[in-house]
């Protein structure tokens, strides 16, 4: 039981990180139709900014949290202006390559700025752990789970109970019809790029104390997140969160009870198995919805 709690708790926390990255991907995909390959590197950037503000500047945890979110929102808008807006009429492949190039640029810039050595981001909870059924879960993990739930509820509310969310969902459901109806995709895209980057930055701040920062940190997490996004559907927030938690927990259990040596392969094995059983993904996609 102890081992199960340890593994399950860590899996849930990992799933929350995947979910935060995945939510950003889905928001952007819904609004612009773009898969942002820079999302992982934006997560690394958020982690790096948190390290610099906490360790080098000496700022407090709350101030750092707020400032990093704002900075990441700004970074997202810059990314949109640079990597999406000028290319928006090109093919989706062109834009994807553009985001991939910008991701590489972010990674290289982080390497030049902070070096490639691992950096330790302090946790607001230190190394404190909570004991559950004999197992241990770090307080940082618990914090990550709570924040993820709050973010999901806020995003769900934003998408389902505000005019802005209605526009985003309309774009996701039938982009051409939505544009003909006068939905201003241009302004929405900047906003969603900013929001998506802020989510990535949040994931970076939460995962930094659990791991260590290196410029390549985000890319590996992004790959696992893709598995969850494919499973959960590119247009369903709830589906992505469920799939992220599922992928992470099953990966953790498989690593713990089968072999940890194949930890990086499990998400894709899960993805392959799930798609063999349900080629359409786990969650039904949005189509023909009324708003």
């Amino acid at each position: 039981m102890t081992q199960f709690v340890d593994i399950f708790g860590n899996g849930l926390a990992d799933g929350c990180i995947y979910a935060l990255i995945g939510l950003g991907l889905v928001l952007l995909q819904m609004t612009t139709g773009v898969i942002n390959f820079a999302q992982g590197d934006l997560m690394s950037l958020g982690c790096a900014l948190a390290f610099v503000l906490l360790v080098r500047v000496g700022m407090g945890q709350v101030g750092t949290f707020v400032l990093v979110l704002l900075m990441m929102f700004g970074a997202g808008i810059v990314l949109e202006r640079v990597g999406y807006f000028p290319l928006r009429k090109r093919s989706p492949m062109t834009i994807m390559i553009s985001t991939f190039a910008l991701g590489l640029g972010i990674e290289a810039a982080l390497t030049l700025w902070l070096g490639s050595s691992p950096l330790s981001v302090p946790s607001p909870f230190g190394t404190n752990v909570v004991h559950v059924f004999g197992g241990t879960i770090s307080e940082q993990d618990v914090f990550t789970m709570i924040i993820t739930v709050i973010v999901f509820v806020l995003l769900f509310g934003l998408l389902h109970f505000t005019p802005l969310g209605r526009q985003v969902r309309a774009l996701a459901s039938d982009r051409e019809a939505a544009l003909l109806q006068g939905i201003r995709a241009r302004s929405l895209s900047a906003l969603m790029f900013g929001l998506s980057a802020a989510l990535a930055g949040l994931a970076g701040m939460l995962v930094g104390p659990l791991l260590t920062f290196t410029p390549t940190l985000g890319f590996g997490l992004l790959l696992n997140t893709f598995a969850a996004v494919v499973l959960g559907g590119m247009d369903r927030l709830g589906g992505v969160v469920l799939a992220a938690l599922g992928v992470a927990v099953v990966t953790a259990l498989a690593s713990g009870y089968i072999s940890a040596n194949y930890g990086s392969a499990y998400p894709y094995i899960i993805l392959l198995l799930a798609l063999m059983i349900r080629p359409q993904g786990l969650i039904r996609s949005v189509s023909g919805a009324r708003y």
């Binding site: 340890d6 190039a101 810039a109 982080l110 752990v129 260590t212 930890g263």
Partner: protein, 401 residues
């Protein structure tokens, strides 16, 4: 307007590509130091090390450059000035091979470095063909003279089996461990290293082991950390970034009290401080340069002083750097003793030479390994403390089978 935004996008894309190119690892670089004009031309040493990426160490070339400066200040080697050319061997056999080709094409007279065994073994046929001496940082059985079937390769660091041997001894005689976690990256030297630890530990009566491997690029070791939760101690054999990640995750999972023995790469932590000081209490590493902390070692004291004077920014004198500093002097001594720059003369001298260096006393054993002293050093609060020293070690790959 369209033209303007398109132009902006193009410029930014170019900038991004440029930044990416600047930050990428791999390839090779060269720099030279010293040297005053010499009628005989300089003696060129190729410094083959990891100069980019997460496993690189800022200022890594400084000690060997310092050695060249000091040798040149005394008139060079037998009248020839020493020139250092640095090449980035990266982490893989391919990158090392590329760097070696470049070094040989630029006419180096000797080589020092190769911290990754696979890099040396891949490059060695070319080195052998060029017939130049190579003083290596190779630790594994594949880089011994027996395995390479050549006496032009000499190791200036300790061997993996020696390192494993003292780890096992320390687990048994000091930590009284009954079960050991063996965590390592998946490449050859760490895998072999932990296999040796297991073999030696079994000989000492330790019977329970938890083996965990991971790719060197791993960013999450949660599963491995949870698996070693019940062990008495852990042997961690990987790259410095793996060490920091493992310790961080052990603390985050309530395992901070488990003693962790890092391989020689643990010395890297002096520079990066990637492990927070308050998480170092139970962290030790095997140092192949404990001579650096020996107050009676005047060479080490002079080295530290000179290094800090020449390179004020360098904050940590250990890791592989002192070994490369010593290697340059060992090479110089071998040439001067044989009064010849020829490879056969140098190798003949290296066979019997004894050199008191920064890291200790160098004298070749039958495998061509020249340093046979190791210490267990505590990283606690980043105050170096030698916990135990093991001398007169003998590398015995053949005995292990």
């Amino acid at each position: 307007m369209r033209l303007r935004t398109g132009a902006v996008a193009a410029v930014v894309a170019l900038l991004a590509a440029g930044v990416a190119a600047c930050g990428s690892s791999g390839g090779s670089s060269s720099s030279s130091s010293s040297s005053s004009a010499s009628t005989k031309g300089p003696y060129v040493i190729g410094f083959m090390n990891i100069l980019s990426g997460p496993a690189s160490i800022p200022g890594e070339t400084d000690p060997i450059e310092l050695a060249a400066t000091q040798i040149n200040a005394k008139g060079g080697i037998d009248g020839r000035q020493v020139e250092i050319k640095s090449y980035d061997v990266g982490l893989t056999a391919t990158t090392a091979l590329t760097a070696t080709r470049l070094a040989l094409s630029q006419g180096v007279d000797a080589l020092i470095g190769y911290p990754i065994d696979a890099g040396l073994t891949a490059s060695f046929p070319l080195i052998k063909q060029a017939d130049i001496p190579v003083l290596t940082l190779g630790e594994g059985p594949t880089t011994s003279q027996g395995a390479l079937k050549s006496n032009i390769a000499w190791s200036v660091t300790v061997q993996s089996d020696e390192e494993a041997n003292i780890s096992a001894q320390y687990f048994e005689d000091t930590l009284h461990a009954t079960s050991i976690g063996l965590t390592n990256s998946e490449d050859a030297n760490p895998v072999e290293g932990n296999q040796y630890v297991e073999q030696y530990s079994k000989q000492l009566g330790i019977s329970h082991f938890v083996n965990e491997q991971y790719p060197e690029t791993v960013t999450d070791l949660t599963a491995q950390v949870l698996d070693i939760k019940s062990v008495s101690a852990d042997e961690q054999w990987g790259y410095p970034q793996n060490d920091a990640l493992l310790v961080r995750q052990m603390y985050q999972n309530g395992e901070g009290n488990i003693p962790v023995m890092l391989s020689t790469a643990g010395s890297y932590e002096w520079g990066t401080r990637a492990i927070p000081a308050n998480e170092t209490a139970h962290i030790t590493y095997v140092s192949s340069c404990a001579g650096l902390y020996d107050p009676a070692n005047s060479v080490a004291a002079a080295f530290t002083k000179s290094l800090h004077t020449a390179y004020p920014s360098i904050v940590y004198p250990e890791t592989y750097q002192p070994g490369t500093y010593d290697a340059a002097f060992i090479l110089a001594q071998a040439i001067e003793a044989g009064k010849s720059f020829g490879t056969s003369s140098i190798t003949a001298q290296l066979k019997t030479l004894t050199y008191q260096g920064v890291c200790g006393t160098y004298h070749a054993n039958a495998d061509g390994a020249m340093l046979n002293q190791l210490s267990v050093v505590s990283l606690a609060n980043y105050q170096p403390q030698i916990l135990k020293t093991y001398s007169n070690l003998t590398s015995s790959y053949s005995a292990l089978g």
